[in-house]
Symmetry: C2
Subunit: 226 residues, 2 copies
């Protein structure tokens, strides 16, 4: 087993190094990079579509789609006339920094305000792989049960935003949203939580406002002497 652990550590260390290089490139280009992560089917792509509708007229946005198979999500995003690059991981259960490194070679980073990376649908493995992003956003849907933050703590601990999605379904579920929030904040008291729905657009504006505020803040900070 030691052999495996050593190789895993090597892989993560190499990934962190590549991610640090990516971060420097992102900062240099002045692009704000957001890594979207969740279980399969929590609504990552739908939330991204709603977000693009609101922020993309005013801001220049790019998208990297990560999937194990298929480019279905990239096709959905391309309809918004957004530059989108598909990474097909061929079985790998998460995105890695070197995959992002290859993907951004096809993109004009300097032209972008925000780059969204939609990770592979997986509440476990993507949390270990830093991609040079400025913010991690975890999406959890009301249909998944309140206990997910306790059962998958790493994902919630390393995120700065939790989008509690599909809240339109609350009337039809035995889901206690206050308990879910309590569990999420128990793992990470600094988590900013938005309740969202892609059916009735609840919370989408607030989430987009957070995004644009973060972008502004990042740019103001970049003007300070280092």
């Amino acid at each position: 087993m030691n052999e495996i652990i050593t190789v895993e550590q090597k892989v993560l260390k190499k990934n962190d190094e590549t991610a640090a290089e990516l971060k420097a490139r992102f900062d240099n280009a002045g692009v704000f990079v957001v890594n979207l992560m969740s279980s399969p089917g929590s609504g990552k792509t739908s939330l991204l579509e709603k977000t693009l509708k609101i922020v993309s007229p005013a801001l220049s946005v790019g998208v990297i789609e990560g999937d194990i198979q298929t480019n279905l999500d990239a096709e959905r995003i391309a309809q918004y006339n957004i530059p989108v690059t598909q990474i097909i991981t061929n079985g790998t259960c998460h995105l890695e920094a070197k995959m992002i490194d290859e993907a951004i070679n096809k993109m004009q980073l300097k032209n972008l305000d925000i780059l969204f990376i939609e990770n592979v649908g997986n509440l476990v493995c993507p949390s270990s792989y830093y991609l040079g992003e400025h913010a991690r956003v975890v999406i959890m849907s009301t249909t998944e049960g309140e206990d997910k933050p306790l059962k998958y703590p790493a994902m919630f601990l390393k995120s700065c935003v939790l989008l509690l999605n599909k809240i339109d379904l609350l009337p039809y579920l035995k889901f206690n949203i206050e308990t879910a929030k309590k569990f999420a904040l128990k793992i990470n008291p600094d988590l900013k939580i938005f309740e969202t729905s892609c059916y009735n657009n609840h919370g989408i504006l607030e989430w987009c406002e957070w995004l644009t505020n973060e972008l502004k803040l990042k740019r103001c900070k970049a003007r300070l002497p280092t």
Copy 2:
């Protein structure tokens, strides 16, 4: 990268060997072993609770719960007076045969008719790790979107049953159940599909009937000369 692939192959090969030994022990004990797999929050534990209510009075059932953190699911199952063993993987995103090997040392296999293994909530990695089970059951909920079989094909290809769960929510979703079935059968034409709901019990009896029929069939076959 070759070093990593080699170690991965070694790990999977060793896992397969341990799984084959487990399979022999399961067969020798006459226990039918079912590996339940899905995304986080698809309803694995709720379906298991419903199943126990129906099959456990007549059959002797045991449960192994796999979780990254917490023993919340094991606590839920223990309420049914069912022998339950919790495996906490401490970050590992799937169950492995050696974990099952340790867990069953605490169980009286010969006294069991069915052993359920509830895998870690993850639609990717658990599909690569054979646990000596006789049947894999994948659960997908209507809230996850129709495209999951195409996006996570390995899980659907290696399962023999698909439980399409949370069908009570269909009136509130833009989910086309026929499209979901078509995609699942495109990946695996041999998949047996049940539509289920833990809210109104739809399909639970039919799924339990399948289970008991499989158990009987397995026992009949075991009486044949080898």
